[in-house]
């Protein structure tokens, strides 16, 4: 039982970080219809940047994290402005492939700028392990979960009450109507990219504080796609619910299936879930089903 509790707690915590990363994806998808497959590479980039700021340059913690946030906003703004703006109204194939190109560029840049390939962030959170019942949980997991939940609450309010948030939802609903109301849609696109990159930065730093800055962050980003698929592409709630489900499946399923199958099964479980969801309920738990009629 002790190990089950352990699996459940770490699973939910990691899953909530997945949710955070998935939220960034859903935001861009809803407002501009771009599928950002560079998510994993963005995580890697921001984690490395945080490492440079905190460890290499020895900037105080709070200032370093603020700088990471600002950097992520700039990256988001640049990506939208330079790469995706010229491709507005192109077929989805181009929009997916261009983010794959971005993924390549970021991956190359990170290995040029930070050639060591492996690093540890300084401790952001207090060290003592926390005992919950019989399980021993390192505090990073709980902090990651708490921060994800807080951000989700903040985003819910933001989309409900803030003007920009409401406009973003409206853009997701009907771009032409928003344009007709005199709101520049392109500005909304760039805001949602900036917000998505800020979420990726948070997710990247949280994941790196748990597992270190490694190339595995890219795989984390790829695994978060299973959250998006399971929750439904256009649903924030879906992403938030599906994250812990995937996280649980990964730790609990991985923990109990590894003796039965081959090692490393926890890393493919999210992908197996993707395939299963595609067969049973392709638009996810909370996604809007597109029924096409003539």
């Amino acid at each position: 039982m002790a190990e089950l509790l352990q699996f459940v707690i770490t699973g939910i915590a990691v899953g909530l970080v997945y949710s955070l990363i998935a939220l960034g994806f859903v935001m861009v998808w809803k407002s501009s219809g771009v599928a950002n497959l560079a998510q994993g590479q963005l995580l890697l980039l921001f984690a490395w940047f945080a490492y440079s700021m905190l460890t290499l340059n020895g900037i105080p913690m709070w200032l370093g994290l603020v700088l990471v946030l600002i950097f992520s906003l700039v990256v988001g703004w640049l990506m939208e402005k330079v790469i995706l703006r010229p491709l507005i109204a192109q077929p989805i194939l181009s929009l997916i492939t261009v983010t794959l190109g971005v993924a390549f560029v970021i991956q190359g840049l990170t290995s040029i700028i930070w050639p060591q390939g492996l690093a540890a962030l300084p401790r952001i959170f207090p060290q003592e392990a926390i005992h919950i019942g019989t399980a021993v949980v390192s505090p990073e997991y709980l902090w990651a979960a708490a921060i994800s939940l807080a951000l989700f609450a903040f985003l819910s309010f933001y989309f409900k009450y803030n003007r920009t948030g409401i406009v973003m939802r409206a853009t997701a609903d009907d771009q032409k109507a928003v344009q007709a109301c005199g709101i520049p849609v392109t500005r909304i696109f760039s805001r949602s990219w900036m917000l998505a990159c800020a979420l990726a930065a948070t997710g990247g730093v949280l994941m790196a504080s748990i597992g270190g800055v490694t190339f595995g962050l890219v795989d984390t980003g790829l695994r978060s796609f299973s959250v998006v698929i399971l929750g439904g592409l256009d649903s924030f709630l879906g992403a938030m619910v599906a994250g812990p489900v995937i996280g649980l499946a990964q730790t609990v399923g991985g923990g109990y299936l590894t003796p039965l199958t081959w090692p490393g099964v926890n890393e493919v479980i999210p992908f197996i879930i993707i395939i299963i969801v595609m067969f049973i309920k392709p638009y996810g738990l909370f996604g809007e089903e597109r029924i096409e009629r003539i």
Partner: protein, 350 residues
Amino acid sequence: MDLPAGIRNFSYAQDMAIFRTKTHWFWLFLLMVILFTAPLYWANYWLGVTNLIMITIISATGLNILTGYCGQLSIGHAGFMVVGAYTSAILSDRFGVPFLLALLCGGVMAGLVGMLFGISSLRVKGFYLAISTLAAQFIILWVISHWTAITGGTMGMPVSPAQIAGLTFRSQANKFYLILVVAIIVIYLAKNLVRTRTGRAFVAIRDNDLAAEVMGVNLFRYKLLAFFIGCFFAGIAGSLFASWTGFISSESFPLTKSILYVGMIIIGGLGTTVGPIFGVIFIQLLDVLVTHISPALQSAFPGLSSGFVVGIAPVLFGLAIILFLIFEPRGLAHRWSLFKASYRLWPFSY
């Protein structure tokens, strides 16, 4: 339309001909002579590069049928190659199946696996399909690298050189002929496939799948067929790759390769026969250039980071993909047809 002034078609056979004029035949003949005599005067290194280019062309042609003609984006193409590679290697090495048969079996196996993951294409498209092929890539690689009893696991497995009717393809030049012949057959098949009912059905599905269905195209059948054919070519390419390198492991086919394949057909030009050829040559030559120049640059400018050699290739590939998508989405094939048109019409550009 594409004919020089003064030449008209008087029969359907002439209208359908791929090589219509004497000039076409002349250029084809010249190209074939150059290709088939290449091992006489090309250095071994360049033969190796050409072999890799041709293998990649075979695979990219398959992806082009699936993505370029049928519109089903796949970012797991390297995963399907690995299926073909292992199938043919195991069949020919463990069970003594003749190479050509093993090659076909590799292709068929890859095609079947592709169809399995392509079933979801009936209900979803666009991004969903991309993710499900991405998942296919990860699942296939995981199975390959852990099913130790059959595949040798992460250690990989050696592959003996191809043998056809007593001939063993050991040297780079021998393999060159083998791969060249297969590549020519594949390009010929692909070119003709897209001119049949099947090919037109693919294009109809790509342009508007609802309209295609209304016109009597069986979506399920043709989408799965596209997956089968695309992955069949990938499997053939994978088998050839295995016998070319003499060693395979799951690490020879990472996700980045799958992405690069998509990049290649985008750079070359989606939905054209020459597109994949141009795209593959562009990317592979860029790769060769980078591997030669970056160590030199590294030693010339010691200030460069030590990761420069590793990192510069992905940056350039990514930039190429982005720049082509923004500035020339129709790819090199479009440029090529513009060039041909201006060549044909010169000096009167109308």
